[in-house]
Amino acid sequence: MYANDANIYSRHSHIISVIRVIFMSFTLSIFLIPYLIFLLLWLIFSVVAIYHMFKFGFKNFTTYFTTFTFILISLIMLIVTYGYVIEIDWSTNVTVFSSSMDNQLPY
């Protein structure tokens, strides 16, 4: 039985090593995918919020001022984030769970 298992392992060892490589190393840009999905959802909800404010709010200074403040601070946050994000080399290859790392964190 054990000999049979060893035989299967040797036959599929190439596939296993490929899977290992895929899971062990990746580029930093992979972190941008969930962030961009979050940004898209955030943008949709922001538009909905602004729409509600203008559709159902009073036509007065408070409505315009609060909506403008929301947009302004959101833009500032996005610009600051962009400033930090462009400094990072997202093509950097990161290797995790490798034996060569001697159980050190990859930072």
Partner: protein, 186 residues
């Protein structure tokens, strides 16, 4: 968009007497809650830096911290704006002809109920708890003969004063209604 000069289904000669929202203390409490949410990750980051001084320089940790931080603050800011909208769009309008209850129940759900003043049967104000007593806000229950029998003005400032205004306006409206009925009968 609502306007102080153009009410929905405005009755001829109708004038706004008072526009009520929840007390400012309720808004202040929300702001305080978001200030805590704003400070909390900075505190966590400070402790993390004390434990791992290189965490902000790491090849992986730096991008993760930037993206997580950005997501967190964008979310908090949007959540705060939602919370403000919930406060700002819940209004009670008292006019010389009727009371209008406008409630924003989450997004895409808005309930507008109105009742003519002469239909009001009973007005009760209630101030319960430490903060409502100190900051003078509370509930007003309005019993009417309409389909929506009980109107609730929730956490409004000076509930006793508002109750008196509603009672006075309701009495005037009833008197006016009786006079109109007499004219019709004659």
């Amino acid at each position: 968009m609502l306007s102080a000069y153009h009410l929905p289904n405005q009755i001829p000669g109708e004038k706004i007497v008072k526009v009520l929202r929840r007390d400012l203390f309720v808004l202040f409490f929300k702001i305080l809650f978001f200030i805590v949410l704003f400070i909390l990750p900075l505190f966590v980051l400070f402790i993390t830096i004390q434990m791992f001084p290189d965490v902000l320089e790491g090849q992986v940790t730096r991008p993760i911290i930037i993206l997580l931080g950005s997501s967190y603050y964008l979310f908090i800011w949007l959540f705060f704006f939602f919370s403000f909208i919930d406060y700002y769009l819940d209004i009670w309008i008292i006019t010389n002809e009727r009371i209008i209850d406008v409630q924003q129940k989450g997004f895409f759900s808005r309930v507008i109920a109105e009742q003519r003043l002469y239909r009001i049967q009973d007005v009760t104000s209630e101030v319960n708890g430490l903060f409502p007593t100190v900051f003078k806000y509370g509930e007003i229950y309005i019993q009417t003969a309409g389909a929506k029998q009980r109107f609730l003005f929730d956490q409004v400032p000076h509930p006793n004063r508002v109750r008196n205004i509603i009672i006075t306006l309701a009495e005037r409206s009833k008197k006016k209604q009786r006079q109109e009925m007499k004219k019709v009968n004659l």
